[in-house]
Amino acid sequence: MQSSGVYTRDRCVTGIHGLDEILRGGIPYGSTVLAAGTCGSGKTTLAMEFLVRGALAGEACAHFTATEPSVKLLENIRQYAFFDMNMVDSGLINVFDMDVLYSWLGLEKASFDLDDVHALIKSIVDIVNTIGVTRLVIDSVTTLCYKIKSEQLIRDFLFTLGKKLATLGCTTVLISEITSATENAHWSSFGVEEAIADGIIVMGDSERMGHLLRFLQVVKMRGTAHSRAKHAIELTPLGVMLIPMLKWGASADKTSRWGS
């Protein structure tokens, strides 16, 4: 008798030490994942390593930066041994300044309306489609959404963008800046990003006797079983490394930086 097989979705193997184990093999392909974290928690490094590991496997990757100029981003990331500038030169990693994109689209304005949002989605999707991007990072969706004044419009923007990118087979990481990573905190600035995302990875700092210990926790990931435990992370020259946080340590820690 043939046993009925359990369906498992194909995975985008992040290549990040420990993260694929947490996700039981990787992020389900085509997912939109919110990487929400406090400042200095390692969001950009994690996202950049996600792209580099993809590039090393021959995938085309794109990074849209709204928080810092691409030149500065690349300078900061060059200190990591996992990064190789040839990946940028050869077109495997494509970094776009959002300011330049806004300029191309004539969107140099304080706030976006529905048409502006659609133009922005179209341009991102066109770039992804043209280059054949399979891994995309938007850093940060918070900065980008500050220009979208209506909550409904933010929801539409993220939902439509996520849907179109998923159709193209692109796995997307949206970086979200938050001020607290406590149990009661929102994992996004506008409260809508977390509902739309297929996955949420929270990053923050636990304070232990005056020292800050970085942590990462996958709180949601559709399409896969995963650990929901807090993991300590270290940003090493070889990339991000994770191990489970000590259980007794977690009870001794103040929950997070800026925490209530």
Binding site: H211, T236, M241, I243, L246
Partner: protein, 194 residues
């Protein structure tokens, strides 16, 4: 002239890479016993690895080995002490890395795992010097949990764990866990002065 304890070297021939050795030292013989453990591992078994110094700064330890004619430039030191001293991290040794505090137990483990990925020796050890120093800063239960994680992490990766401790300065819960999880013991913790 400094003499190594040859009985320890003999005992080390019985251990494997997935072993965890508890090394009980006295307050007066700590360096001698540690050297008698580490030097054979380096010279007889051609091992490299990581030395985690929680009791004293790494420079002091390196210089103690240099004083007895042992080259430890192939050993990577993780110094948990010197960051707490102004100017303590300005050292002339490239094989020393600093961790902010002995409280950052997970960082110590992650940094050790990272360091082991960078060394060029095929067989490696991790020496934790010492549990009694870590117990100054960390809660007993947390340290016991850490010990469990630490030993199993390196056992799984076939990296020999060597855990130093001064028994009468180590919490009973931690000692009990050492007895449970370590596969071997080098006991020089009871020093009889004649």
């Amino acid at each position: 002239m400094f003499e190594l304890d040859q009985m320890i070297a003999e005992q080390l021939t019985q251990v494997s890479l997935s072993s965890a050795i508890q090394v009980r030292v006295g307050a007066n013989n700590a360096f001698g016993v540690t050297a008698s453990t580490m030097v054979p591992l380096m010279q007889m078994f051609e091992m490299g690895g990581v030395y985690i110094s929680a009791g004293r700064g790494a420079v002091e330890i390196i210089q103690a080995y240099e004083a007895i004619g042992v080259d430890v430039s192939n050993i990577q030191f993780l110094d948990l002490v010197s960051s707490g001293v102004l100017g303590g991290t300005d050292v002339p040794y490239p094989n020393v890395t600093f961790i902010d505090s002995p409280i950052m137990l997970e960082s110590i483990l992650l940094r050790t795992l990272y360091t082991l990925r960078t060394v060029n020796t095929a067989r490696n050890f991790v020496i934790l010097d010492s549990l009694n120093a870590l117990s100054i800063y960390n809660d007993d239960r947390m340290l016991a949990e850490y010990l469990h994680t630490f030993i199993n992490t390196f056992r799984q990766r076939e990296v020999l764990s060597v855990l130093l401790t001064v028994p009468d300065q180590t919490p009973p819960l931690v000692l009990a866990n050492l007895d449970t999880y370590c596969t071997d013991i080098v006991d020089r913790g009871q020093v009889v002065l004649l």
